[in-house]
Each structure stands twice: as C-alpha cells, then as structure tokens.
C-alpha cells in the first residue's frame, strides 16, 4: 500500500472535542475500573525517569514529555487527589492540583501519538511497574472524555456497530472470496462445523492478499477442519486501540459467538499483534469468564503442528533473515520461540536484531499510532533506530508476524526510500511447504 492510500484510509484529523464535563468523565472512567493493581502501579512510581530510557519516542527526541510514566501524569495526579489513601491531605495542602480540560487535551498527543503501548518501558522500571498498562488505562479515560483521536474513534465505533472498521465497497468476506478466486484457492467461509476458526487482518486482505493465500494453503496442508466466519472475520480490535473497554468487549464477543456457532475449540489469530493481545490476554477479562476456546497466534499454532509432525517444511537455507517480534505477540504476548522454531525448520539463517525478543523496539506503528496523521512526524523519527538495527543485521529479508508492523515498515520504505521490504512469516512458511509425499521422501 502506498502512503497515499494510508492517508486516504484515515478519518478527519483529530481535534480537541472535549465537552465541558470531559475531565470529570475521564477521571470517573479511569477510577471506575480501578483495582488494587492499578493503584499499586500509581503509588509505586518514584519519579526515577528510567522508563524514558526504554522508550523509542524519548530516545529519538530526548523530549522529556515522552517519558512513559509522564504520559499517565494527569491520571496519576487525579488518583492521588481524588481517590488515593491520602486524597484529602493532597487536596488540603494543595499538593495536587485539579486536572484541567486543557491538560487532558494536551495529553492526547502523549497518550496516543507518542505511545505504542509496546511495553518496553515496563521492563525497565526499577519498581516493576507495568507502565504500558497505566497508559492503556489512561486511553480509556481519554476515550470517555471524548479525546480519542478521530481516526481511532471512528474505526472503533464502526467496528463495534457493524463489524467493519470502515465502510468498504465489497464486504470483507467477498474480498476474501475474490482473493481465493484470483489465486485459485478455495476459501472456507461460514462452514457449519469446524474445529478451528480463523480470522484475518483487514490490512492483509486489502494490502497483502498473498498472506491470505498462504494462510489457506498452510491450513489445508494440515488437514484440519477449519473455517472463516463472515460475521467475525477481522482480527483487529480498534476499540482496544481507541480506549473503549465496552466496545472492545463487543468485538471480542463477536468472535466468541461465531466460534460457538461453528463449535470451534481453537481460534487462530493470524499475524495481527493487537488482535492477538485483545483476544488471548484481554478477552476473558473483558467477558468476565474464560473464553470457550483456545486463542492462539498463528505462529504458535504452526510450531505446535511442526512439533507434532503435521507440518512439513522444506529446508532450503538460501536466505538470511532478521525477525521483528511484534510487541503484542512477543514481549506482551509470550510468543517468541515459535517463530524462531519455524524459521529454523526452514533452514534460514536468522540474524537477530541487537534488541530482540522481549526487548525489541516497536516498529513505531503499534497501539494504532500508524493510523494517526498527527503522529507521523514523530513516528518516523522514533522508528529510525529500528530501521538502523534491521540494516545492521545485514540480513537479506525482514520477517515479522504482524500485519500492522508490516504495514508500518512498508510505509517507512516509502517514506525513507528504504531498500528493505517486510515479509510475512506465514508467507515464508507457505513457500516452504513440502509437497505431498515429499516429506517422507
């Protein structure tokens, strides 16, 4: 996809549209979901500022405002003033002033444009605070205040209401079918019964149809019963990015309902970082009960199949690759070995990035930042270090397992005239599938 297309896909530029009660709404929402864990995180900060040294936005700019924990400052302040253990003390002595609407509007840039929710800062904090979770909660407050950026708000709203983040000429299911027809693969859609249900990223459907073909080929090679469901086709969860827990739950619910309708015991999220995080780690929490299926990232599913001897890959050892761990799948999701097992099985030479696995830098697009017009300049600056690390490996190919990351790297390719193009691990797996009978030969 070109950068023009990316811009076209965006909504109107975000502007401050906080109402007169925005601060009250934001703080009410922030404190409503408040539990011991969030309070412990807010209470524990010692203002050491070390989270800044883990954040690519700060490292790139040295602008202190991009210190991760500072991005949650108004909420921290409101907590201490309004609901902390010594709230009256803070109020009487004027140690914490009241958060103003103006401050919240100013913080929109910090909570959205300059945070990928990537969680790298959470690994640095000497107090062990999961700073990314705090900012996630700050986004929920901002959403309630009417301060979610228009691009994310509109997509979240549309996805919650219609299942699609924006109107499309043809339905997503039709677009999938068209890809199948064009490439001569049959797309299993809305089968009544299936053991495995798959969703797919809308970014892939629109920009990387080869991934859809690869997905179908790989799944067919495994001989499992599987299906897409047209009513819950997309892996993305835009409400998660915008900051609406309620809508996020509705999107998860759609997947749950469709999996129940076809009796799937496994739901695979193929190469969509935040979609995986929202379903696998937040889904049950949002619903208040365990998911009635196993939610897996496609790479961990395929690595399991490989170990079980059902996935047969050809080792060709031709290319050297470097692998970008998507934050939501790797650092925050726990799937870091599986992609490497698959790469190893294909015999490719893996040249690790300087910062890899749990410590990898975000691509810069995570947390929906890639969709924010207002974030572009900063995002490009922040991702320069990442691109340098990729170049430094000298690998032939950059491989990743997230459509959003791939999209962000492709955008960078156009912006920086960068000579690398990101590849999908799934596509690489499909290219290395042993033909029937070849495996035993």
């Amino acid at each position: 996809m070109s950068t023009t297309d990316i811009t076209a896909a965006r909504g109107p530029a975000p502007g401050p549209h906080a109402g007169p009660d925005s601060v009250r709404d934001a703080m009410r929402s922030f404190s409503r979901g408040f539990g011991a864990l969030a309070a412990l995180r807010l209470e524990s900060c010692i203002h050491c500022g070390m989270c800044a040294d883990a954040c690519h936005f700060y490292i790139a700019t040295e602008d202190p405002r991009y210190t991760p924990v500072w991005k949650a400052e108004p909420f921290k302040q409101a907590y201490k003033r309004e609901s902390g253990p010594f709230a009256p003390f803070f109020r009487w002595f004027g140690l914490k002033h009241k958060v103003t609407a103006g401050e919240l509007e100013e913080w929109q840039h910090l909570v959205y444009d300059s945070c990928n929710l990537c969680g790298r800062c959470s690994l640095m904090c000497p107090m062990g605070i999961d700073v990314a979770s705090l900012i996630e909660e700050a986004r929920e407050g901002m959403f309630e205040a009417g301060l979610a950026p228009a691009e994310l708000y509109e997509r979240a709203k549309s996805q919650q209401q219609t299942g699609s983040p924006y109107p499309t000429e043809n339905s997503w299911a039709d677009q999938l079918r068209a890809i199948g027809e064009k490439h001569g693969v049959e797309i299993p859609m809305d089968r009544d019964r299936a053991d495995v249900m798959l969703c797919v990223s809308g970014i892939d459907i629109e920009n990387y149809p080869a991934l859809v073909v690869a997905l179908v080929k790989v799944m067919e090679s495994l001989g499992v019963s599987w299906t897409f469901r047209s009513a819950a086709l997309l892996a993305e969860n835009y409400p998660y990015l915008a900051g609406s827990r309620k809508w996020e739950r509705d999107v998860v619910n759609r997947l749950v309902d469709e999996a129940a309708a076809c009796g799937a015991g496994t739901v695979i999220v193929p190469e969509c970082g935040h979609g995986y995080g929202a379903l696998r780690w937040k889904g049950a929490e949002l619903l208040g009960k365990a998911l009635p299926f196993r939610a897996v990232d496609v790479s961990e599913y395929l690595a399991e199949q490989l170990r079980a001897g059902r996935l047969h890959l050809r080792r060709d050892g031709e290319a050297s690759v470097t692998f970008h761990d998507p934050c939501e799948i790797g650092r925050k999701g726990g799937v870091m070995n599986a992609p490497r097992e698959l790469l190893d099985a294909m015999g490719v030479e893996l040249r690790e990035l300087e910062d890899n696995r749990g410590f990898t830098f975000c691509c810069g697009g995570g947390g929906g930042v890639v969709f924010l017009e207002s974030a572009n300049k900063l995002r490009y600056r922040a991702m320069e270090a990442k691109l340098r690390e990729i170049d430094d490996t000298g690998a032939d190919q950059l491989v990743t397992t997230c459509a959003g990351c791939r999209y962000t790297f492709d955008d960078a390719r156009a912006h920086f005239n960068w000579d690398k193009s990101p590849h999908s691990l799934l596509e690489l797996v499909a290219q290395h599938l042993e033909k029937t009978g070849e495996a035993s030969a």
Partner: protein
C-alpha cells in the same frame, strides 16, 4: 538532660513512630483492599511458574537488563549506591544498634565507627549527586514534585545531622543529637505520605507486576 533531646527522643519520637505505623498500614490497606480483578485467561505455562517467575523479578529487577544498562547504569548506580550506604549506616552503626536493641530487645555486631563515618560521607556525596542529577536532567526535573525534594531533604538532613553529631561539629553533642533525632522524627512522620513508601511497595510491585507479565510468558 537537654530538654530538646528529651523531647526529640521522648514524646516526639513516640508520635513519629505512631504516625509512621498507622500511616504505613493505612496506605498499604487502602491499596491492597481495593478490588482485585481475577485473571481469567489461562496462564501460558501455568500459574505456579508465573508466580515463581514473578517472585524472581523482585530480585532480578535490581539489576537492569543489559540492553538498558548503557543508558540507565549511572542513575541506577547512584540510586542503589546511596540506598546501600543508608542501610549500612542505619543498621550497622553501634549507637543505632543500641537504639534498636532498646526497642526490639535484640542487638547485633556493629561496624567500626570510622568505617561508618566514611560510608556516611560517601552516602552524602551520592545524595548530593542524586540531587544534582534530579535538577539537571530534563526528564527528572519535569517529573519531580514537592514530594521528591522534600523526601530528599529529610533523608539528607538525617545523614548530615548524624555526621555532625558523630563529629561533634557545630554545637554541643546533645544538641546535635537532638537535631539528628528530630530529623528522624520528621522522616518517620513524612514517610507514609510521600515516595518513601516505595520501601514497602517495591517488592509487592515487582512481584505482582512480574507475575502478570510472566503469566503471559512474555518478557518480565
């Protein structure tokens, strides 16, 4: 006995200890009695392993991951350095041990006073370096508030008055000792209200957050 000293280690100390104890207890209860959200998504490697890995974070987080150390090593060395100095001086200085023995009934061996003095001076130097860093580094200057400076002031005042008392510098010993104990009283009273509480939060925070990260099987 000097009336100021009697006041400092008599009623004032009792008030300070009472504020400290009730304040700390209240601040801990007010946080830990809040609603606990149950984790409903299945832990990647089981809860037990996540608990063990979370518990390990309590210790491992004291040493920065090697990818961060280049950027944070200096700040962490300063921070942990003066904490270590404070612990040694507080716990291994003979008069302090006598004080603790009076309260809890048990004593332990002390380090030589000359060594304690050297450590206290080094600790003071580190505290000054920490302050310089806080006011000169834009990130820290921006994050800092009254609590940061006031807590620093009380800790530093305690070290300075302690050094003055042991060196008999700046006045009669009993008066210097009174100021030292008064600064301890002030520190104890302020303790539950500000960032000094991190002494009680640090390990629960590391373990609980470590557990929430470890149950996903991600980096912790």
């Amino acid at each position: 006995m000097d009336p100021l000293l009697s006041f400092a280690r008599g009623p004032m100390l009792q008030i300070a200890i009472a504020v400290f104890c009730f304040g700390v207890l209240w601040r801990l209860l007010a946080v830990f009695l809040l609603r606990h959200r149950r984790s409903r998504s299945p832990a990647r490697h089981g809860r037990l392993r996540a608990l063990i890995e979370g518990a390990l974070v309590a210790g491992t987080r004291s040493w920065p991951h090697k990818v961060f150390i280049r950027r944070t090593g200096y700040g962490e060395a300063l921070g942990y350095g003066y904490h270590l100095g404070l612990f040694i001086v507080i716990l291994l200085f003979a008069p302090h041990i006598v004080f603790f023995k009076g309260i809890i009934g048990v004593g332990w061996p002390a380090l030589p006073s000359s060594l304690i003095n050297i450590i206290a001076v080094l600790t003071l130097a580190l505290l000054l370096a920490v302050l310089v860093r806080r006011v000169s580094k834009p990130v820290l200057r921006m994050l800092s508030n009254f609590d940061d400076y006031f807590s620093w002031l009380l800790v530093t005042a305690t070290v300075v008055t302690g050094l003055m008392a042991t060196a008999h510098l700046g006045g009669p010993y009993h008066q210097l000792l009174a100021w030292h104990i008064l600064s301890v009283d002030a520190l104890l009273i302020w303790f539950p209200f500000g960032k000094l509480m991190h002494a009680f939060y640090i390990f629960p925070s590391r373990v609980i957050n470590g557990y929430t990260l470890a149950r996903k099987g991600g980096a912790s």
